[in-house]
């Protein structure tokens, strides 16, 4: 009999306590964040979509090498002397840029947001932004192109680079021929040249190696 009434007491009291708790919650401020309008402050070192500042990119390809999922595709063209890369030809830290970057594509469908590409960048031009809403209806839409070079510009720069390379090759060939002719004309001169070589090896070495390369080609 005692158990019977204690059951009733327990039931009634627990219902009242429960309803008291829910009743109190009714007047509390909601914790909902109305997402598209209201946003949480993201943490300082959040890792979201990458951004590449092409003004600073020197096309060193280190980010693409560091990427564990190979989502960065990067192509470069050598700049001809006198040609200015970008607006000033310099990075914001004052380094000279020697490469045009006609393609710098990051495929965010592949990207794993590991931030490994950010650390090796020598000019700190690739970094994580706070943009995390970039869903797309097509996978192709997730490929982001950061280079602002047009196809014509790319073709032009390629032509220039090829022409320059050919010119250089010709010059070197001529230089090599001249060197060869001078070698055959007098052994004394050759000895002198050899002596010069020992004094200043780099230019000669370079010409030799480049000669070899040309021969291979």
């Amino acid at each position: 009999m005692k158990a019977y009434f204690s059951h009733i007491y327990q039931a009634v009291s627990s219902i009242l306590i429960g309803m008291g708790i829910t009743g109190r919650h009714m007047f509390q401020k909601p914790v909902t964040i109305q997402y598209p309008e209201q946003r949480l402050q993201l943490p300082e070192r959040e890792r979201n979509r990458l951004f590449v500042d092409m003004e600073d990119c020197i096309g060193c390809d280190q980010c693409a090498k560091a990427c564990p999922v190979n989502c960065i595709e990067l192509k470069t063209i050598k700049a001809v002397p006198g040609d200015i890369v970008g607006k000033t030809g310099l990075t914001s830290q004052g380094k000279k840029k020697a490469l045009f970057v006609p393609t710098f594509t990051i495929d965010f469908a592949k990207c794993c947001y590991c931030q490994l590409c950010v650390f090796p960048c020598p000019t700190e031009c690739i970094f994580m932004t706070d943009v995390f809403e970039f869903s797309d209806f097509k996978r192709a839409g997730l490929k982001y192109e950061f280079s602002d070079m047009t196809a014509e510009q790319t073709a032009e720069k390629k032509m220039k680079a090829e022409e320059y390379a050919l010119e250089q090759a010709k010059k070197k060939e001529e230089a090599a021929k001249a060197a060869a002719s001078s070698k055959s004309s007098s052994a004394a001169e050759k000895k002198a040249a050899e002596a010069k070589k020992s004094e200043a090896p780099p230019p000669e070495d370079l010409t030799q190696t480049e000669d070899n390369k040309n021969k291979e080609v």
Binding site: I15, I21, T22, Q28, P30
Partner: protein, 353 residues
Amino acid sequence: MEEFLKSIIGDNIITYIIMPIPALIFVSLFALYAVLAERKVSAWISNRIGPNRAGGKMGLLQTILDGIKLVQKEFVSPVRSDRFLFKAAPFIIFTAAFMGYAVIPFSSLYIGVDLNLGLFYFFSITSLGVIGMLMAGWASNNKYSLFGGIRSVAQIISYEIPTALAALVVVMLAGTLSMQAFCVAQDGGIFNWFIFGGPGGLSKIILIPFMITACVILFLSTLAETNRTPFDIPEADSELVAGVHLEYSGMQFAMFFFAEYAQMFAVAGVIATLFLGGWQSPFGDLVPFLNSPVMQIIWFLAKGFFLVFVQIWMRWTLPRVRVDQLMTICWKFLIPISFVNIFVVALYIIFFK
């Protein structure tokens, strides 16, 4: 209102068609906004905001748009289901719930029909819904639906007993079964309501705890009859998926909700009539304006809405009971306690009235 209509139109069928129209409009609007209220209250209880996009900050158009969506949906009936019973069941449930409104006294001038057996009629007609539930469960050709239907029948039939016994206390005190007579009997302010023992001398203080108990028992057992949490084992989203609602789609599904919310207000109205003074103003005749027929509607709706709010509040507080617990609550607790209530009230009537 009945006399008024009869004086204009005459005593013919049109009068009796017009009579329930205000109640039907009220039930439709109430069902729409009770669904919204349910969602809002549940949101507030769990520290959320709830629907706030459609129709302003309170989401006032939410359920209307939901309804439009449901009307557009295809009516799917399962393979080898009993087509006729399957289609008819939700309408039978709603009809049963709506027929109860015939005896709900909204005001001293508006009641569908003031039967002298009003309360008896109410309890008998609303339990017709059981047939619809069983039909829906059986015709769905789905074991979960059938379980839901069977549980619903078992639950509603066993909870009929404490409902009737708790209401009997008031019937004994008022000496009537007419719903208008209950309201008239509680004339004269808040302390003459039956939850405080009804009109009478100082001796009625003895009655107060027993009347409150009776009110709570009636509230709990009607909660079980409308299949609301914590007694929603016929629906039981997590074990029976949704019970009898499982195979329904589109407007038929919406009909179940209409019926459920119609029933919620109907039982709230009956509790308000029996224990909370019906359409009586809590100030009695002190301020005659507050007891005018139009204000009576407001008082009655306020009491009904408060009880519906408590039903919703309870739903979002308590977990579902098991089947054995459900039967234990009914047969071991509610029925014996209501018998004790009847006994005490009977003794009071013999010795003090």
